[in-house]
């Protein structure tokens, strides 16, 4: 789902870099240093997740994990995803350096939204946690697909056509992500519930 170099027009590239810079600095400010090890683990998970391919006819789509990153990290999710994408671009050549801003916006904004959605729907018992995890995972991936379609529209494609294709191609990924998020949330609820209580913004002491 990474956009490559040379697809997007210059204004979109510059605008997305500006949004990425603002969101990254906000994310860095909101990061509680105590959460850095967890951020490192989630960034690594996001970094490696794109290697898991789901074959779809002639091509394949890959796992994304913006929902899980958003659930676990809250506000630091944007920084985590930006770091993961930057390293993927440099080491794997996934997506181009010029479209790094657009890719970060595409996957970071849904991750930032998944945190509050999970927090709202969390409830107090295991089944509501699982439901909240599944729904935020699915919504985050669907949002990422929507933003991808919007970005490709700016490159001159027809929105309805691209939107339908992108959504249809990523439907298996949306289902898989919902399952993965639900399983992870249920495991953490039983083993380490403190991990799931991420504040929405840094509390000033």
């Amino acid at each position: 789902m990474h956009i490559s170099d040379g697809v997007l027009p210059l204004p979109v590239i510059l605008g997305s870099f500006a949004v990425t810079a603002i969101a990254t600095s906000w994310s860095v400010r909101q990061t509680n240093p105590e959460n850095l090890p967890k951020t490192a683990v989630m960034t690594s998970a996001f970094f490696v997740a794109s290697l898991v391919h789901v074959p779809l006819g002639p091509t394949s789509v890959h796992l994304l994990l913006p929902g899980l990153v958003g659930i676990m990290l809250g506000p630091s999710a944007f920084l985590s995803i930006f770091m993961g994408l930057f390293l993927q671009c440099i080491l794997f050549q996934f997506g181009g350096l010029t479209s790094l801003g657009a890719n970060a916006v595409m996957m970071g904004i849904p991750a930032l939204l998944a945190g509050p959605i999970f927090r709202l729907m969390k409830g107090t018992n295991l089944s509501s946690h699982i439901m909240a995890g599944a729904i935020s995972g699915a919504i985050a991936t669907a949002l990422a697909t929507l933003i991808l379609a919007l970005l490709l529209v700016s490159a001159g494609e027809d929105f309805i056509g691209v939107g339908k294709i992108a959504f249809a191609a990523h439907l298996p990924i949306i289902c898989i992500e919902a399952i993965i998020s639900a399983c992870t949330v249920s495991f953490l609820y039983k083993v380490r519930p403190a991990f799931l209580n991420i504040p929405l913004a840094k509390q000033s002491k």
Binding site: P33, L36, T39, S44, L51, M83, L87, L91, F92
Partner: protein, 96 residues
């Protein structure tokens, strides 16, 4: 090499028997047949090698275990350094 071989063949044929025009034509036809057969065999080999190169190129583009370990190392390194600074500041604040 094959041209030399075919030339020698023609020459020995010429010294061995009394040459007629028919003999010449048959020998040349045989030589041409041998050359064509050799070319098809070489074409098969070249096609096989080209297929191997294409498969190799595709395999080279995939990220290997080296890149994965490198990326994870970068992540833990960068975040580890910032965690270290935070711990250092905490310790210094505690000392005062």
């Amino acid at each position: 090499m094959s041209i030399l071989l075919s030339f020698l063949l023609c020459v020995t044929q010429a010294f061995g028997t009394e040459l007629t025009e028919d003999d010449d034509e048959t020998n040349c036809k045989q030589v041409i047949e041998m050359l064509n057969f050799q070319t098809t065999e070489q074409d098969k080999d070249f096609r096989f090698i080209k297929r191997e190169i294409a498969v190799l190129k595709e395999a080279m583009e995939k990220p290997g275990i080296t890149e994965i370990i490198g990326g994870i190392g970068y992540i833990f390194g960068l975040l580890g350094i910032s965690y270290y600074w935070h711990a250092r500041n905490l310790l210094q604040a505690r000392k005062k």
